[in-house]
Symmetry: D2
C-alpha cells in the first residue's frame, strides 16, 4: 500500500485524487487546498481527508463550514508519495518542503524539467523512472505527442517530426482567461517549447509551433512525421496503444465539442477523455510522411500518467502491470 497525498486540488489535482482513490495498491491519505469553495466541499463529500494548504488561511475553511484534517505539513507526514498539482511554478517552491518531509514527489508539466530527477511518460520512459525520488509528468500536449511518437519510433522508426498545436485558451471554468475573439501564434518565435519538452523524455528530431484560440474544451494537434511505415502499419501500431483511441468515421464526430459530448454520453466522469483522440480519417501517409489530427483533453490526459508515475517511483509495479491496472480502474 502506497500512501499518496495530493497537494493542489484544482483541475488536475481533483482528477488525480479520484484516480488514486480507485487504485488497489494506493491509499489517498489526503488532498490539500488553499481556499474553501465548491471543490473543497466536494472533496469532503467524496470522503477525502482535506488539508489546508496555507496555514494562515486554515480558518477560512472553518468559516465556510468545511472540516479540515489539518494543514499540509500534517498531510505530508502521512504520505510516502505526494502528487503536486499546484499552479505552474508553485511546485518548484514546494519541492524543498517535500524533501524536508522525506516524501517522494510527482510534479506536473507546468514546472521546469529541473524540478525533478526525471521527466515521465508511461509509454516512453517508465523504466527509467523506477525508484526515482521525484518525476515530472510532462504537460498535456507533450504527453499527447509522446503517446503517438514513441510507439511509432519503436515499431517503425521515425525521422523529422513537425507538429502544429492549436491550444485552448483556458480550461472551461477559468473565466478570467482569454482570448475572447482572437488567434495568437504563441509563442511567436519558432519553435514552441513543446518540442524540447518531448526531448526531455525521448530522443527525436521535432519542431513544434503553437497557437492559442478562444476555445476551452481540448487542444488539437496537426502532426507530420517522416516514417517508412504505411498507413496500415501506423494504424496497427496506434490501435495497440491503450491510451490512443480512434475517432471513427461512423461516430460522425467532427470537433472537440462532439468528442466531449461522446465522452459524456459514455458516462465518463466529468466527461474526461484520458486518451489521445485520433481521427482515423485523418491518418494519411504520402511520400514517406504521416499526417494526422488528434484532440487532447488537457484536463485529463495526464491523469493516468500520474497514477503510473506513483507506481514507478514507489517501485511497486513494472510498466505493463501499472498501465494495465490504471487503465482498468479508470475504464480506459
Amino acid at each position: 500500500m502506497v500512501d499518496v497525498a495530493v497537494n493542489g486540488y484544482g483541475t488536475i489535482g481533483k482528477r488525480v485524487a479520484d484516480a488514486v482513490a480507485l487504485q488497489d495498491g494506493m491509499d489517498l491519505v489526503g488532498v490539500a487546498k488553499t481556499k474553501p469553495n465548491f471543490e473543497a466541499r466536494n472533496a469532503v463529500e467524496r470522503g477525502y481527508p482535506l488539508y489546508a494548504a496555507v496555514k494562515e488561511r486554515a480558518d477560512e475553511f472553518a468559516d465556510a463550514g468545511i472540516d479540515t484534517a489539518g494543514t499540509v505539513g500534517e498531510m505530508l507526514e502521512r504520505a510516502e508519495v505526494v502528487i503536486d498539482a499546484c499552479p505552474s511554478g508553485v511546485g518548484a517552491q514546494n519541492a524543498s518542503m517535500y524533501d524536508d518531509h522525506d516524501v517522494k514527489a510527482v510534479f506536473q508539466g507546468g514546472e521546469d524539467d529541473a524540478v525533478a530527477e526525471r521527466s515521465f511518460n508511461a509509454s516512453a520512459n517508465y523504466g527509467d523512472c523506477v525508484g526515482a525520488d521525484s518525476v515530472r509528468v510532462v504537460s498535456c500536449n507533450t504527453t499527447g505527442l509522446l503517446r503517438v511518437l514513441h510507439p511509432l519510433e519503436r515499431d517503425h522508426g521515425i525521422g523529422k517530426v513537425r507538429a502544429t498545436l492549436v491550444r485552448r485558451g483556458g480550461d472551461p471554468s477559468q473565466h478570467g482567461r482569454g482570448p475572447i475573439n482572437d488567434i495568437l501564434p504563441n509563442p511567436i518565435t519558432i519553435p514552441s517549447h513543446h518540442g524540447p519538452d518531448v526531448r526531455t523524455v525521448m530522443d527525436v528530431d521535432i519542431t513544434t509551433t503553437g497557437f492559442k484560440v478562444p476555445a476551452t474544451l481540448m487542444h488539437v494537434h496537426s502532426l507530420n512525421v517522416e516514417t517508412e511505415a504505411s498507413r496500415a502499419e501506423v494504424i496497427e501500431t496506434l490501435e495497440d496503444e491503450s491510451r490512443v483511441r480512434f475517432v471513427e468515421p461512423d461516430d460522425r464526430v467532427s470537433s472537440t465539442a462532439e468528442i466531449k459530448e461522446m465522452m459524456l454520453d459514455e458516462g465518463r466522469p466529468r466527461g474526461d477523455a484520458w486518451e489521445n483522440m485520433v481521427w482515423r480519417d485523418s491518418v494519411s501517409v504520402e511520400d514517406g510522411e504521416l499526417y494526422l489530427f488528434q484532440a487532447i483533453h488537457q484536463e485529463s490526459d495526464v491523469v493516468p500518467e500520474n497514477v503510473d508515475a506513483v507506481r514507478a517511483i514507489a517501485g511497486t509495479a513494472d510498466r505493463d502491470e501499472s498501465v494495465r491496472a490504471t487503465n482498468e480502474t479508470l475504464g480506459i
Copy 2:
C-alpha cells in the same frame, strides 16, 4: 407500467430516455433516431431498442454496423406514450402519426402551444393536465421562469414581472451555430415570446426581453418581480421548491461555467443541472421589488418535467407523487 417511446434522440431526447429508463412505473420501449452516429451507438450500448425514425434511411444504420429494432411506426405500436424530442417544428408534423397510432404524446417547447391540448409545467399546472391526450412541456427558459414565479405567486402573490434573458447561442456540440463574437437583442421587438409562453400555463403580468450571446453552457435570467414578500420569505419559499437550488456564497461560484464544473464534480450524469440555479447573494428586495439571478441549464431542466408529464397524461400519479419519484430517481 407505462410503455414509453422517445422519438428524436438528440440533446433532449437522450436525456429524457435515460430518465424514463430510471422510473419504476415506466418501460422505455424504444428510441428513434434519423441517422447513425455516436449517439445511436451509445443508445444501443445502454440497451435501448433503437428504431430508425425515417424509413428511407434505415439502411444507414446497418451500413454503420448499428442494429435497429425496426422503424418508428413499429416503435409507436409498442408505446402508450411517446415523448417527441424532434427539432422545433418537426413535432407538429409528427402529431398526426401519433394520433394514427393512438398514443398519447408529450411535445417540447420548440413547438407551438397549439400542438397539444395543454402546455405543461409540473410546478404550475400538473393537475390541469392529468389524463390529457397530449401536452407540451414548455421551453427551458419558460420552465425556469415558472419554477420561481408559480411558488411566489402561490405563497405571496406577485404583481408585474420583468425578466431579461441572456441566452446561450447554441448547445455545446452545435458547432454550426453562432454568434462567435456578438451580442444580439433577440428578438429586437419587445417583448420576447417567453412572457406569452409563461402565460400558456400561469396567469401573470410579465414582460420579457431576450439576448443571444456567444456562450454554450447555460442561459441566465435577471428577474424583477413586484411582490410584498420580504427577502427572507422569498428565500423560504424557494428553498421549499425541490427544483430550485441555491448557489451558495461559500461555493464561490460566479459563472455558468463554474456551475457546470460543480455539477460535474458532483457526478451528475453529463454534468446536468436539472434545477434552476439561483444565486443566493443576488436575491434582494427593495421597495416591493424582488431581484434575482438564476442560471438555467437548457439541455436538462425540462428532463424531470417530461417524466412528470408522462405520469400526468397517463394518470398514474398525482403531482406530489410524481415529482417525488422523478426527483428521487434522478438524484435531485
Copy 3:
C-alpha cells in the same frame, strides 16, 4: 486656445487625442505613454508630441527608434488641461501630480467619483461643471444611460428605471481578458454600481443589473423606464438628441457586429460609434413603462464627452456651443 495634454494613450486616450486635435479652440500639446509599441509609433506619425509617462522607461522609446519630446512632467508644464486616460485607479494616483503642475484635469469613469470635483455628462450636467478644477467623465455605460434618461426626465418626467447591462468582456485587442465561453452575472449582488454612478450626475430612481459575456464589440442595454410619455413622444425626444442615433428597420441590423460593420462602411475612424445606438423597433411603451434596447460602443462613446469636459472646465463655451462644435468636428 486651450492647451490640452492626454496622459495615458490607450483605447480611450488615443481616440480622445484625435478628437482634441480636431478642435478649433484646442491645442494638443502632447500625449504620454508608458511603453513604445505600434500605438506610440502611430502617435508620432499623426504628429502628436509623444512623452514618456514613466521616466525610468523613457529609454525604451529610444531603443525602439521612437522619438519622444520628454517625460510627462514636461508635458504637463505645457498644458492647461490634462485628460487622464490611464487604467482604472492610476488616475487617482496621478491626481496630485496634476495639482502640483497646476493643470486642470479630466478623469475617466474607471476612477472613483471622489477623484474629481464633479462627475460629468454633457447632456445632463455640463452647466454644473463650468469652471471646475477637475471632472470625471462617467463610464461608457453610465454615459449611455444618461443620454437617454436625462432628456426623458427633462421632457416628460420619469419614474423608476430598471436596466440590465449585457457587457462585453474586454475590448477587441485585449486578448488577455475573458471569458471565452461563459456568462457571468456581474456583480452577483444586486444592484450593480452603474445605478449609483448615474446618480452622481442626475437624480433618478434607478436599479441596474449587469452581465459579462464573451464578446468584445459593444455593450447592450435592456432599459425599462416608468414614464407617462407615449412611444411617439419618447422617439421625438430621442430624435432631438444628437448623441442618440436610431438603428432603423431598413438597416436590417440585428446585432452589435452589424452596427460596427455599418460604422466601418460609413467611414467612421476606427469604426467608432460615438452615439447610443437605439433600435427603433425595440422602443415600446406599455402600461406606463418604456422598453428599449441600445448598444453602447465602450471604446468611443465617452470621446465627445471628454472634449466637452475640457470646454466646460476651461470655461470656453457653454453647453450648446460645445456640443455643436464637438459633434461637427467629429462628424456626429
Copy 4:
C-alpha cells in the same frame, strides 16, 4: 477606361467596388445587390449606381426608400468587365448570364477552378491571364500562400511545403456562423483543398491542413517550406514584395486583434489589412526548412488582386504597372 460592374455587394464586393472606384483607368458603372439594407444605403451614399440583383425583389429597394438604377441585366449592358462577388456557388450560376451579355468576368475563390479560364494571382501568374475572358481570383488563404511561396520559389527555389491554416469561423458580422466554443480540424481528411488550389496557379509540392476556430478577425498560417535560402535571404525576398508586410518586434503585436487595431490606428478603410502580415520574429530557418507565421485578413487580401485581375483580362497594363497603380491608389 474600363467599365467595371460589381455583382454581389457583400464583404468582398463592397471593398472591391471601393477599390475600383479609386482607379484612374476604370469606371465603376454599378453594383448589384439582392436586398436593401445598410450596405445598399451606403452604396448610394458613396455615389455608386445601385442595381437590383434579383428582378423579382427590385420593389424591396423602393419600399426601403432606396433608389436603384435598374436591374442587373441593365448593369451588365453598361459593363466591359464584371466582378462577381456573390456567395460561393452563385458565381457559377451567373457565368452564362455574363456570357450572354458578352462581358468579361472576374470570379472569386468560392467558385470551382472550372468557372473561369484561369485562376489568378497577381504575383504568381498575371502574365498568363492577360486577355483571358474570365479569371478566378483564388481564395483569401490561397492568395496568402502564393504571395510568399511564389517569390521564394522565384528567388531561391523551394522544395516541399507544409502549411497549417488556422481559419476564422466567420466574418465579423456573420452572427449566424459558429463555432462558439470549439476547434474543428476541417476537413478531417488530409490534405485540405488549399494545397490543390495553390497548384491551380503555381507548380509546387504542397500539403495543407486546416482548422476552424471561434474567431472572426483573420486567418493565421503556420508555414514550413524546404529551401536552401538563409533567414536573411528569405527576409530580403519578402521585404521586396509589396503585398507582404512584416509585423515588427517593436510593434509589440502578438495577435490578429492587435493587427486589426494597428490597421484601424493607421486609418485604413474598414481597418483592412490587404497585405500578408508576417511576424518577423517568427521567420526562422533550420536544417533547410523555413518556418513562419502569417496572418491573412480574409475580408480584404483579395481586393488588390481583383483590381489587378481586371487590368489583366482587359489587357490595359502589364503586371508591374498594374500592381504599382493598385498599391498606390489603395495606400499599400
